[in-house]
Amino acid sequence: MSQRVGIIGIGQSAFKSRRDDASYPDLVREAVSQALTDAGLELEQIEAVVYSLSPDAMVGIGNAERLGVDAVGARNKRFLRINTGGSTGISSVAAAFYHVAAGACDVVLTAGADKVGECGDSQSVLNKIWDPTYERALPLGTINMLAMSAVRYMHKYTMDETDMARVVVKNRSHAARNPKAHLRKQTTIDEVMGSRYISWPVKLFDCCPQSSGGCAMVLASESYIKEHGLNAVWITGVGHCSESYYLGDRMGDNVEADHADAFALAHSFKRSFAMAGIDKPDKQVHVAELYAPFSNTEFHAIEAAGLAKLGESPARLRAGEFTIGGKTPVNPSGGVLCTNAIAVTAMVRVAEAALQVWGRAGDHQVKGAKIGIASGNGGDHQFFGTMVVEA
């Protein structure tokens, strides 16, 4: 195999509902500047850029990455964009990884931003991901799509709405320790249970916010890192896996990919674990940043990552295993439930896992973390990207 690929710089906005002070390219540039400062590099040293942006309609500009070329310093340089929906951010890191692993470049930047809070109605945009003839008219949105997963998970296992509320309480308490998180106010089970229903059983507090902000990361080859005496953490596992486009193909009792679970996410993790040489994730992984935009989906993500058996994660959450200080903290940053700037949400998962194994996560640091994992979900719970990051 090719030489190792390291992460040498990370930048993230302090995510908010609105960023009236910054245009869309400004937000991208903000994250790029932070990542370059973190890496101690200048734009001139970047050889290629992978631009991270999910649906164009979210920013209201067709091929909006074209207006970001100068913001990321890519003029006359290698540049392409990735879009796998919500998993775009982790897919972009993967694409940057392949640039370096292929030997095409030594230093690659991946960056993006989103203004979900300013897009009008994100669910109107997201309804347009479905086939115009069969599923769009139901009408489907990403909230009722994953509410159906919650109902199915309740049917198959033992989760109830209070279990879902416990995920929110945990992640909000984590976000309170993360200055970059969007929703940082702690909450209680009663407050979550008392919030209004959005799509039963998902309530307002079970949902992620619509965030504005950017994220950027600089990746480099092992030889470049050694030659320049840089600090790095290493990407040791990369995997993607897809499910079917039609949601209906995941419904029913005899389907391979049951909508309660995250079939392709589990397969994606198997690929990245095999690459990283991890065969007992529940024992080997120290920290996990898992893409879960609604509280119920954190359970099947934990199980797909091999941190708990199918249906067991609600009980283990109740035992405190996934809280900072527990056996394997999940989403110590507060996760997607507390910050969701869609274009970079899954990149933030990798960035946060990297900061953890680097020992640079500040107040939400998991003590002694050396192996971290990250995931991203995109499309209609269809595209899944996963990564292993090690100190």
Binding site: M1, S2, Q3, Y51, S54, P55, D56, G60, I61, G62, N63, A64, E65, R66, L67, G68, V69, D70, A74, R75, N76, K77, R78, F79, L80, R81, I82, N83, T84, G85, S91, A95, F97, Y98, A101, A102, G103, A104, D106, L126, K128, I129, D131, P132, S221, S223, V238, G239, H240, C241, S242, E243, Y245, D249, H267, S268, M275, G379, D380, F383
Partner: protein, 391 residues
């Protein structure tokens, strides 16, 4: 595409070749759905490579939301290209970027094969209106500015700087129309109407968008050797680069992004005199002026010789260096997928699989793919019958 840096850590070099190419020209949306079209295309390209879907390790797809009338339009491909339970990535920046990413993934050593698929346009009723959404919403969208308007500004600037360009452009149109009648006898006859379109472009200088889909299979040297594949088109060099998003920041009579992409590709391929080394070219010609710029920046014909060489038939079928034997985008223009069509056409010439437009003895071909307003993105791929000397 050869991983040359892998040697530094004592690992094996990976070289990549194109082992199959198929296209659908045009898509008849009244008879087949997008999914059916992509399924048929995938089956055809697998048959062309004498492989099955089980041989495909990963997939990269490219499509454009605005032209498809869907958000995250790549989602629709999951099932029909064999993406379910496979590692699939997608790019919305251009069809040719899917090729770049596929080649990088193989050169990384983590994949033996990649299926690369792009299509466009399918469901947009008004293409200029859809493309106009890509203009900056504050400064340019109200002009109104679509891609053809940007192409026309480029043509006007080029004719101002190089007065011979207008006459040379007419020769290019005649050449590509003649090639197109040979290559695609069943396509509707292109307009010969010299009426104004977007000044200085006339109606006969462009092809209206058509639906098309194209797929290629890329494979590693190890896979090609194991399967004893006799006629791959080896990727000898690859470059890609972007120019700024604002037209006002560019001199449209020059193409520094194409210069950068060419430099990368020729450096990898060891080409110092392209006119001498290259046997055949497929270049982007959304307008004939774009083809002229490609002649110059690919090192095939200096600007001062455009008119003379064009009139002499140097680049016509039977000439010293045939360019666009397929008829180019002036014959068939699937907009977003047009660049990947150029690469597939060049690869098939090298493979000896070009049928009614096959040139003799194509040892080394160059493909130029451009996308966006006035060639904002440029990709250059050098393909050879032989694997080439180690870099």
């Amino acid at each position: 595409m050869t991983n040359t840096k892998a040697d530094s850590v004592g690992t094996k070099r990976v070289t990549c070749g194109v082992i199959a190419c198929k296209s659908i020209t045009p898509i008849d949306a009244t008879k087949r759905s997008l999914e059916e079209t992509l399924y048929d295309l995938t089956q055809a390209v697998l048959a062309d490579g004498d492989i099955t879907i089980d041989d495909i390790d990963g997939i990269v797809v490219a499509a454009n939301d605005q032209l498809d009338g869907r958000a995250i339009s790549v989602m629709a491909a999951s099932g029909s290209v064999g993406g379910v339970n496979r590692d699939i990535l997608s790019t919305p920046s251009s069809g040719e970027h899917a090729f770049v990413l596929g080649a990088l993934r193989i050169a990384s050593g983590y994949f033996r094969t990649q299926l690369v698929v792009a299509w466009s346009p399918t469901e947009a009723e008004n293409i200029p209106e859809a493309l106009r959404l890509a203009a900056d919403p504050y400064f340019h969208r109200r002009l109104p500015l679509d891609e053809w308007s940007a192409h026309a500004l480029q043509a006007a600037r080029l004719e101002f700087v190089a007065p011979d360009a207008a006459e040379a452009a007419r020769h290019v149109v005649a050449k590509n129309r003649k090639h197109g009648r040979q290559a695609f006898p069943d396509l509707p006859v292109a307009s010969s109407d010299g009426a104004p379109f977007r000044w200085p472009l006339t109606r006969d200088m462009i092809a209206l968008p058509s639906g098309g889909a194209v797929a290629l299979v890329l494979a590693s040297d190890a896979f090609i050797a194991e399967r004893k594949i006799a006629n791959p088109a080896w990727i000898r060099g690859m470059g890609w680069a972007a120019e700024p998003g604002f037209l006002g920041d560019r001199d449209l009579a020059s193409a520094p992004g194409l210069a950068a992409a060419t430099e990368q590709a020729y450096r990898e391929a060891g080409i110092t005199n392209a006119r001498k080394s290259i046997s055949l070219a497929e270049v982007t010609d959304a307008t004939p002026h774009q083809e002229l710029l490609a002649w110059e920046y690919l090192g095939l014909c200096e600007r001062s010789k455009w008119r003379r060489e064009a009139a002499a038939g140097t680049f016509a079928a039977g000439g010293a260096l045939p360019i666009n034997l397929s008829g180019g985008a002036l014959t068939f223009n699937p907009v977003f997928a047009s660049g990947l069509f150029r690469i597939a056409e060049a690869a098939n010439q090298v493979r000896g699989q070009s049928g009614n437009r096959q040139a003799k003895d194509v040892d080394l071909a160059v493909a130029h793919a451009a996308s966006g307003p006035a060639m904002q993105y440029n990709t250059v791929v050098v393909l050879g019958r032989s694997r080439g000397a180690p870099q």
